[in-house]
Symmetry: C3
Subunit: 278 residues, 3 copies
């Protein structure tokens, strides 16, 4: 870990440490105890196996760093927070690869959803599917006030099914009814609708995002850590325990699903479509 | 099944099949894959044993018809969607009759709530008690924008208790708090309040109901069936499983409740009151 | 029980019985079947062991009184409904004392949350922590329309954790998401925000509280008791059963928590702060 080159605007200047591998840039402000994780995996911060591995390692490092009490998760790429799971990891690969990939997706969620740190999603771009899951797993969600940015668990639109723990996380944020309708329709909500349905907590003009993030984080960090952590754990335990108890079964389900020729076909078609879009 | 005589306005003209027994008129639009079920059991579409049996058979036929992907449930009788369970089936009958009747109520709900088809309630009139349950069991609810039409699980007003699976279905739509208050008070909500509390999803002027129904159905049918069906099943499984696991117990509870002299008395009084209203 | 000296304004004049010990004044209106419990334990109606014992005894008496169908719970002390658990009961006492105290807290909640009577909280002042729990345990909550009065489960701000059944009661009222955020932040909401987040059902100008209370109570008492009671029990059973099943464990948790030197220290600091405020 070296000294940070750049400062997080809106937080006081202070000695910073940073570590950055390929896909995620982490800056740690030791004075405030807040780390900022910026996704910078062009073109769309898709959650590849490498990305997920790096994300988990970063989370673990910060979790074990006593100086770190909160993390801001945001994107370094304009207009996109994260496009979700990398479909190339799900196409034409071996069972071993699917297993490793899915375990990494689970691991990411287990770490993030159970984090002892205050986790704040600063959603400065679109955030479909797995990108939305990351946001939903944080303690608080601020989104850029831009109706062109959308967020949602849109898996059903691709003919795939959001896993039960995506669903559980979603229900814990928006309630059963909004989750049922949104998951069935694979709805992607423009920022104003995302606020209306409770998917995000606040909309902020894009240029004010970091200032707001610092203010929100300060509010959460004003609480004593220990009571807040136990409270968070109490609120999330049921849903976390469900995946822990069914983790291997969930991997088998994923493999069985992704190995179907019909699913492979629709994923290939989807990738072709994405390529043409470029 | 014969050719349909009437078309569902708002859907494209196409070869249609229809079947109609006594109480429910079903029209199937083969081009759109949408069936329309119209309740026409005067005076108030009450859910008699015959009505429920016919409803279940119709649902089963459509469920097994590969061409049918969605159903619109509505009423052919002005001002009333359905008045709910037929109280004459619960008054002065044998234990065998109560058993058969209650099993039919359960069967109707189990089929409707777990349907693989897109189910859309077009509530063009009042919809108390069991009528409300039918609406709540669909995927989406459109109600006529008429404050004279009311909807709700008003069982408590009659001195009876909504069964646990009515309650579970209600909680899944409006959440625990609104359900707790509404069930205790036996609230019947005029359409605008029903929208406010989330009991229905949209209000539409009565003359635009079918046009809107076609648009909503088209939106839901734009999704691939398979992923949508698995998602729906995932969302509703817990609640469905609960009745399946306690079905005989639930029948016994109903019989024990309905056999009480105090309950028989209040049901008789209620029926007298209804007769005088006519 | 003697004749009541004062009448509850807004309810018809009628023979009344009253009983009052030290901390809670109870008036029973036999004509309406409504009892009014007024907390009058200066300075802030804190829930001491004595207060809780008296509360439980009063609840039991009224529960067993066939003439009593509903209770209004309010405060006789200006600006405060109840300040919550009495911290002096949790500071520097013996394990036996902590056990007895915590069992009384549990007992109060078990009786109130499962009461067969209609329970109406008339929140005419601030209501943090345990005070908020009392309000949340009622069937309906009216709060004075005064932004200076706040309500919420703010335990986390004191470095302590709201027990799981406080949390369950809260989730049943406001849903998982609002509860998760509010409990982590230990949020105290001014009355208008409390309404917005669903913590209370209505705001009423302070001088109209009793009139409104009488109207709300009349609405609830218009329902037949038996069906309403079974419905209430059905809605609350899961959450009640959870504490009943884990009651001893919950006591042990409380003792282990409160016995920690760090917790004792922060409670002492908090008490010092309160003393200085005076």
């Amino acid at each position: 870990w070296g000294r940070a080159v750049r400062q997080l605007p809106g937080l006081p200047l202070a000695p910073c440490r940073a570590f950055s591998n390929n896909k995620i840039q982490v800056e740690m402000n030791e004075s405030s105890g807040v780390a900022t994780m910026k996704f910078k995996s062009p073109p769309v911060n898709s959650l590849s196996l490498d990305f997920l591995t790096e994300f988990c390692i970063s989370l673990e490092k910060l979790e074990n760093d006593r100086a770190c009490r909160g993390i801001v998760i945001t994107s370094a790429i304009p207009k996109i927070f994260s496009s979700g799971l990398d479909i190339t990891e799900m196409c034409g690969k071996s069972t071993e690869h699917y297993t490793e990939f899915w375990r990494a997706v689970q691991e990411m969620w287990l770490r993030l959803y159970s984090s002892n740190m205050v986790t704040l999603a600063v959603i400065n771009g679109s955030s479909p599917a797995g990108g939305c899951l990351i946001a939903l797993s944080c303690d608080y969600r601020i989104m850029a006030e831009n109706p062109k940015y959308t967020i949602g668990l849109n898996e059903a639109q691709l003919g795939i099914v959001a896993p039960f723990w995506f669903k559980d996380t979603f229900v814990n944020v928006v309630g059963q009814r909004v989750a049922e309708r949104s998951l069935q329709l694979g709805s992607l909500y423009p920022a104003p609708e995302a606020l209306k349905f409770g998917i995000v907590d606040e909309l902020v003009p894009e240029e004010k995002l970091q200032e707001k993030a610092a203010a929100v984080m300060a509010q959460w960090l004003a609480l004593p850590d220990h009571a807040r952590q136990i409270t968070k754990s109490m609120m999330r335990k049921t849903v976390l325990d469900r995946l822990v108890a069914h983790r291997e079964e969930d991997i088998k389900n994923f493999i069985s699903f992704v190995s179907k020729e019909s699913i492979q076909k629709s994923l290939r078609m989807y990738m072709e479509m994405l390529k043409k879009k470029k």
